[in-house]
């Protein structure tokens, strides 16, 4: 029986190559895109879930600031982990991780700039599944001079030599001995630290030094006693059954007991498994994008299914005779149902095979594009489960309705040609076409809005001048010799100006809630973003001083502050100039107010900023070039760098590029969106093309009669085209409000956003009409030009 079904199915496909190829193409494209997107979604959802104790590991965050400066700190004070472990019985273990930017590591004559290195506690290797594969498991760090590296790092550094015991130089002259090797991290792990050093080493070498005053007095004895510096990510391993909310309360109590002036200091705990897509307070940090992509994937698959359902039900009429004969001869409904299911399944197998071939070919490009490391390896059960579910879901969605419809024909009516399939389900098919086009139009509108928003961001006036500015970080004695370096740079005709600051202005930097001013309300817990610079910084960046004046470079400036407008507003000051302000250990006076400018991403509102005159803590050099000869300016800077750091490669970044990088994700999302909407339209048009061809075929006789009666070619084309254009028009009407709503929601994620103009809808609508018209036009013209005598005879 099955053989007979398969045989019939195959002959049906082979005998109707046109429709079969439309169906197969639509399904193949839909499957490739749908599966790719779902794999991306699955990968995003799988982050950090591989850890065997994932359900018991929680990240600790602290809520700081009030009003507009309210923020969640994922890097928190160091003592929390230690105190939690010692004082909270529900806490089994804790680990701190502190990444401190990049550093050069030197082995023999090879230098590696490590972006992903961190200081951590030894429990890092037991709380997470990052156990040592080489070295002493119980003592990953033998002493403060130890380091643990990943397998691939070991290979990079030492080739096939045994890494254990090897000594490398970190930074200028710190010796580090490799005492352990861990396996490479899975790609879906948030942790990607290739080199790990003991946190106690940081405490000993850098921390205590930074907390020592110039006269040698130590302010804080150790990180574990510092309740105000936010620096470590902290993870706690809870005992089974422990309540995370209780833990948060207990940590808050410990903190407030040790530092009463911080009261209240709310703590948050966040499950390791939620960290990748959510912020610590549970708000969105990518989850909505994942959800959007999952919906898009399903919509694309639905569009592909609709093609199949539409074409096969439309063509059902042509198969009515066959179905009724089978029934008269003795086929039951089940027989026929199975026959059509198998027919769909066969078509599906062909489409799936093609889809797999395409996926294997396209996967490397897709990975590159989506910034993923997906692989179709046999061993990855999750991926295959995802693919199998997609295939099964799509198969069921596209096969059941046509099979039910075809098997339900009443033989007598079908045989007499009175079958209602053409008429009765025509409205159903129209609904499906409208659905397809609605989805496509929504995607097109989405693409346009995203594109406009990205353009808006990239071209927005940020309130400072980032044109032709590049920056690099001073190293070693360069900082001490800054004036010499600056003079040498300024000497070159390609350099317009030079200044320095404590941070990259494009990115988020340090902030502090340790502040006070005259009349500060009791309940205020405002945080300042801190920006240290010299007297040239503000004019260099062409920021506007609205009140008061800029630093002059005088010694007295070390007790002066400039604040931005937002800070003044948050502090409730109309005329801040001359008012007293304390920031951390500096007591001084506000001397000016700077016009608000957008530092960090435009996803965020402008927050309070305080400028301090601290040239000694400025390690970032900004160089403005004439714009005509940037390469020359870079070469000069590089030459100077080599004088000081011959062993470390020179790295620099243009502010423009750093700024663009903030929106890499948005841009990638925009590109993916435009590709998906393009594909959705192509698949929809394939279906429309098939339906138009079918409609022209069914109407051959009607067209013949009309032509005999004198209808012009133009009238006949419009007769055929109108039927479909009305559907596209309805789709535009349905899609527009939905797209407006969805994109408006998407834009809410940006603090600064473009408007959704009415012309976007007009463009999308006209575009959809034109594409649809082009799709059905050819078929209509062909049908209209046919010789009526021939078409009438064909009946």
């Amino acid at each position: 029986m099955i053989r007979n079904y398969l045989k019939t199915a195959w002959r049906n496909i082979a005998g109707n190559k046109f429709y079969a190829s439309i169906n197969i193409t639509g399904l193949t494209v839909g499957l490739v895109v749908g599966i790719f997107m779902l794999l991306w979604v699955q990968d995003e959802l799988s982050f950090d879930k591989n850890n065997t104790k994932a359900d018991r590991i929680y990240k600790v965050a602290i809520v700081g600031g009030t009003g507009i400066s309210k923020q969640i700190f994922n890097h928190i004070i160091a003592p929390v982990a230690t105190f939690a472990k010692n004082e909270i019985p529900e806490v089994e273990d804790g680990v701190r991780v502190m990444s401190v930017g990049n550093a050069p590591f030197k082995y023999k004559d090879k230098i590696f700039i490590e972006d992903n290195f961190a200081f951590t506690d030894p429990s890092y290797f037991s709380i997470f599944d990052f156990g040592l594969i080489k070295g002493d498991k119980r003592h990953p760090f033998a002493d403060n001079g130890s380091a643990v590296i990943t397998q691939s790092t070991a290979q990079r550094y030492f080739g096939y030599e045994d890494p254990i015991g090897k000594v490398v130089t970190m930074g200028l002259n710190e010796q580090v001995k490799i005492t352990g090797v861990i396996p490479d991290y899975p790609a879906n792990s948030t942790f990607q630290y290739h080199v790990l050093l003991p946190l106690s080493r940081y405490n000993e070498l850098a921390y205590i030094k930074s907390k020592t005053t110039y006269d040698g007095k130590t302010i804080v004895s150790s990180m574990d006693a510092d309740w105000s510096s936010f620096m470590c990510e902290t993870y706690l391993l809870l005992k089974p059954g422990a309540s995370e909310a209780v833990i948060a309360e207990k940590m808050q109590a410990i903190h407030e007991r040790n530092r009463p002036e911080d009261k209240p200091v709310p703590y948050l705990t966040q499950s390791l498994t939620k960290m990748h897509l959510h912020k610590a307070d549970g708000t969105d940090a990518g989850f909505s994008t994942v959800r959007t992509f999952a919906i898009l994937a399903i919509l694309i698959l639905v569009i592909a299914c609709i093609n199949y359902v539409n074409l096969s039900t439309a063509r059902a009429m042509l198969r009515a005779k066959e179905v009724s004969m089978r029934k008269i001869i003795g086929a039951g409904r089940f027989h026929l149902f199975m026959q059509f299911m198998i027919e769909t399944a066969l078509l599906f197998v062909i489409a799936s095979v093609l889809a797999f071939v395409l996926m294997f070919i396209l996967l490397p490009y897709y990975n590159q594009f989506a910034n993923k490391q997906l692989s179709l390896s046999i061993t990855n059960v999750n991926i295959w489960a995802c693919i199998a579910a997609t295939l099964a879901g799509t198969l069921i969605a596209s096969s059941i309705y046509p099979a039910l419809l075809l098997s339900s024909f009443e033989p007598l009516k079908a045989l007499k040609g009175k079958i209602a399939a053409g008429i009765g389900t025509a409205s159903f098919r129209k609904v499906l076409v409208v659905t397809q086009f609605s989805v496509s139009i929504i995607l097109v509108i989405g693409t346009l809005v995203i594109g406009r928003q990205i353009q808006y961001i990239l071209n927005k006036d940020l309130g400072y001048d980032k044109e032709n500015v590049f920056a690099f970080t001073l190293r070693g004695d360069m900082q001490k010799d800054f004036e010499v370096v600056k003079a040498r740079l300024k000497n070159d005709p390609s350099v317009v100006a030079v200044t320095r600051a404590s941070r990259n202005i494009v990115l988020n930097g340090p902030s502090t809630g340790d502040n006070d001013w005259d009349g500060k309300p009791k309940n205020s817990n405002m945080w300042f973003n801190q920006l240290h610079g010299d007297e040239n910084l503000i004019p260099f960046l062409k920021m506007q001083v609205l009140q008061g004046a800029n630093f002059t470079g005088a010694v007295a400036d070390s007790a002066h502050f400039l604040i931005n407008e937002t800070a003044a507003k948050e502090m409730g000051m109309k005329n801040p100039v001359g008012k007293r302000l304390r920031v951390q250990t500096t007591n001084g006076t506000i001397i000016g107010v700077v016009k608000d400018f957008n530092f960090a991403s435009l996803h965020k509102q402008i927050e309070p900023v305080v400028f301090q005159y601290k040239p000694k803590s400025c390690w970032q050099v900004y160089i403005k070039t004439t714009g005509r000869n940037s390469n020359r300016a870079i070469a000069v800077a590089q030459g100077l760098w080599k004088n000081y750091n011959n062993d470390v490669p020179f790295t620099y970044a243009f502010l423009d590029d750093s700024f663009r990088k903030l929106y890499t994700d948005d841009q990638r999302q925009g590109s993916l969106f435009s590709i998906f909407s393009g594909i959705a339209i192509v698949i929809s048009c394939l279906g429309l093309f098939g339906l138009a061809a079918y409609s022209a075929q069914v109407k051959t006789r009607e067209i013949g009669i009309r032509k005999v009666l004198g209808a012009s070619v133009g009238r006949i084309i419009s007769l055929l085209a109108t039927e479909f254009m009305v559907l596209v028009l309805i789709a535009i009407l349905i899609a527009s409000p939905i797209a407006w709503y969805a994109m408006n929601k998407w834009l809410q994620d940006f603090a600064y956003r473009t408007e959704i103009n009415y012309w976007i809808f007009i463009i999308a609508g006209i575009g959809a009409m034109l594409v649809a018209l082009a799709t059905i036009g050819l078929q209509s013209v062909k049908a209209a030009l046919a010789n009526p005598v021939k078409s009438l005879r064909s009946e």
Binding site: N4, N12, G15, E322, I328, I329, G330, A331, G332
Partner: protein, 225 residues
């Protein structure tokens, strides 16, 4: 074999009600060859469809082999039909995607006959219809006469007790038409009951009895000698 009493069938549209069969009564004995004649629209095809259990009557009784089937549901009728009745149509109604062999084999598949038995029986009947040499051809590759022979082969392969033929020679030239009528006569002589709707007086002469219908009622019966 067949006894129908006061059979009624109406066709309704929104505005018009047409009476296709009007209190029709008749009977057909086992082994008979009956021709049904009458002008277009007299109810011949409706009657044939009800006899073939493709349609059900609105009123009246239809007893087939001593079973009242007038109000059987679709599934029961289909079951009774596939074991007892074979159909031959004017337009052959072969399935284009299947070969001659596969077309004839189809009823056996649906009644669950084993594969080896199917081959035996199909070959037997194709041999009898003299189209064995065409077994692997598709319907489009055959002449009209050959197609109708395949259709008859398909109708008889399940060894039905009754064959219903709806103008079996309507699409054939006279020579092929005669061949088909000879085939039907042979089948009848071997014991199969045949009811045939026809416009052709010539074909009707092959039958034992002609029932003439007008406006859904029997107007005359001729016994052939």
């Amino acid at each position: 074999m067949i006894k129908i009493t006061n059979l009624e069938k109406f066709y309704r549209t929104e505005e018009v009600e047409t009476i296709a069969l009007n209190k029709l009564s008749m009977h057909v004995d086992t082994g008979e060859f009956v021709a049904i004649m009458g002008p277009s629209g007299c109810g011949k095809s409706t009657l044939l469809n009800i006899l073939g259990m493709l349609d059900d009557p609105d009123e009246g009784s239809y007893v087939f082999n001593d079973i009242e089937v007038a109000h059987f549901n679709e599934r029961k009728r289909a079951d009774l039909r596939k074991h007892n009745i074979g159909f031959v149509f004017q337009s052959f109604n072969l399935i284009d995607e299947l070969t001659v062999f596969e077309n004839v084999e189809l009823p056996l598949i649906y009644t669950g006959v084993s594969a080896s038995e199917r081959v035996k029986r199909v070959e037997e009947v194709l041999d009898k219809m003299q189209i064995m040499h065409r077994r692997n051809h598709y319907p489009q590759q055959l002449s009209g006469g050959q197609q109708q022979r395949v259709a008859i082969a398909r109708a008889v392969v399940n060894k039905p007790k009754l064959i219903l033929a709806d103008e079996p020679t309507g699409n054939l030239d006279s020579s092929n038409g005669n061949d088909v009528m000879e085939l039907l006569t042979d089948l009848n002589e071997q014991g199969t009951t045949i009811i045939m709707v026809t416009h052709s007086e010539h074909d009707a002469r092959y039958s034992h009895r002609i029932i003439r219908l007008l406006d859904g009622q029997t107007v005359m019966e001729n016994i052939m000698v």
